[in-house]
């Protein structure tokens, strides 16, 4: 394999690993947040609007980590600076 091949292989593999592992934590966290919110709603149905609002905000916070992973994956695939540099260096 040429170095260009290795860089391309590594970028695609890294993008897949980034979004795959990045999604795990956020998915577990969001599940726990939703479970806790549902339990609270069942115990105190009067406060449902407060719980829903807080749950949405905390979910957005939890989700942001996997969004970062997604952005990293997108950068690796579509705007990879190392790939661009390697292509330029090999005169392609």
């Amino acid at each position: 394999m040429t170095s260009l091949d290795i860089i391309g292989f590594g970028s695609v593999l890294g993008a897949g690993l980034a979004i795959g592992f990045g999604a795990i934590g956020a998915a577990i966290g969001e599940g726990m947040a939703a479970a806790a919110a549902l339990r609270s709603m069942a115990q105190q149905p009067d406060q449902t609007s407060t719980f829903t609002r807080t749950m949405f905000v905390s979910m957005a916070m939890i989700e942001s980590t996997s969004i970062y992973a997604f952005v990293i994956a997108m950068i690796l695939i579509f705007a990879n600076p190392i790939w661009n540099h390697a292509v330029k260096a090999s005169g392609g």
């Binding site: 957005a60 916070m61 942001s64 997108m74």
Partner: protein
């Protein structure tokens, strides 16, 4: 593959260019400003009001109530900034179901600009409500040891605010683009529905987080000084 509205360049000269982000931002601005100007030309304070005025009143009242619930403060100083964020992002995300419409919130330059506005608004609102000394004292709370982390938190939450909105809107665009290649018949419509849902939630969350960040920098209200458990940093 074009996944960002920055990549649709319509006009270019020298160092500047007019791309889809700018065009659609102006379109939404014209829509919001023109629409509210048309409606608010004939306002009436009697019980006999037009249905459009009723519509606007519901929106403004709703935003006001939400800000008051979240910040436990008089919502009037917040309304211009928070309400504009909410309405602009909401309209931009909802209009993204139209064909040929590129949501400007799917560009990192737009969301970074909004996050920077929040970043500047926090000390502006904070210094308007309390003195410089008590504002700066927030950074050494609970202990001076936390100073670097509080400063770091200010920067990272601005970054998170920008990337969260951008990532959500851009991801729904990219997922639809990918699905159009694999299963172009019905499935992209379902993902667009999901994109509408996340778009509305993200508009709400952006406005709410901006309100929370600004409120934490302001002077503590009676309510908060009594039970000092409320940390407020997020």
């Amino acid at each position: 593959m074009k996944y960002s509205p920055d990549q649709y360049v319509y006009l270019e000269w020298g160092w500047g260019e007019i791309n889809a982000t700018l065009i659609f931002t102006w379109l939404i601005m014209a829509l919001l400003v023109g629409g509210s100007w048309l409606i608010s030309r004939r306002l009436s304070s009697t019980t006999d009001i037009s249905s459009w005025q009723n519509f606007l009143e519901v929106i403004v009242k709703g935003i006001n109530d939400h800000i008051e619930e979240v910040t436990h403060r008089d919502p009037r100083p917040f309304l211009p900034l928070i309400g504009t964020f909410f309405l602009f992002i909401l309209v931009s995300n909802i209009l993204s179901i139209l064909p040929f419409f590129q949501p400007p919130t799917g560009s990192l330059s737009t969301t970074a600009a909004y996050a920077l506005v929040v970043f500047v608004a926090v000390p502006v609102y904070g210094l308007r409500s309390q003195s410089l000394a008590s504002y700066l004292k927030q950074y050494i709370r609970p202990t001076p040891f936390m100073l670097p982390f509080n400063i770091l938190g200010d920067v990272t939450r601005t970054f998170a605010l920008a990337v969260r909105l951008y990532g959500n809107v851009m991801s729904s665009t990219v997922i639809i683009l990918v699905l159009m290649v694999i299963v172009p018949l019905v499935i992209p419509v379902i993902m667009q529905l999901l994109g509408l849902l996340t778009g509305v939630i993200q508009a709400y969350i952006f406005a709410l987080l901006a309100a929370v960040y600004i409120a934490t920098a302001m002077k503590k209200t009676e309510d908060e000084t009594n039970n000092s458990i409320q940390g407020g940093s997020s």
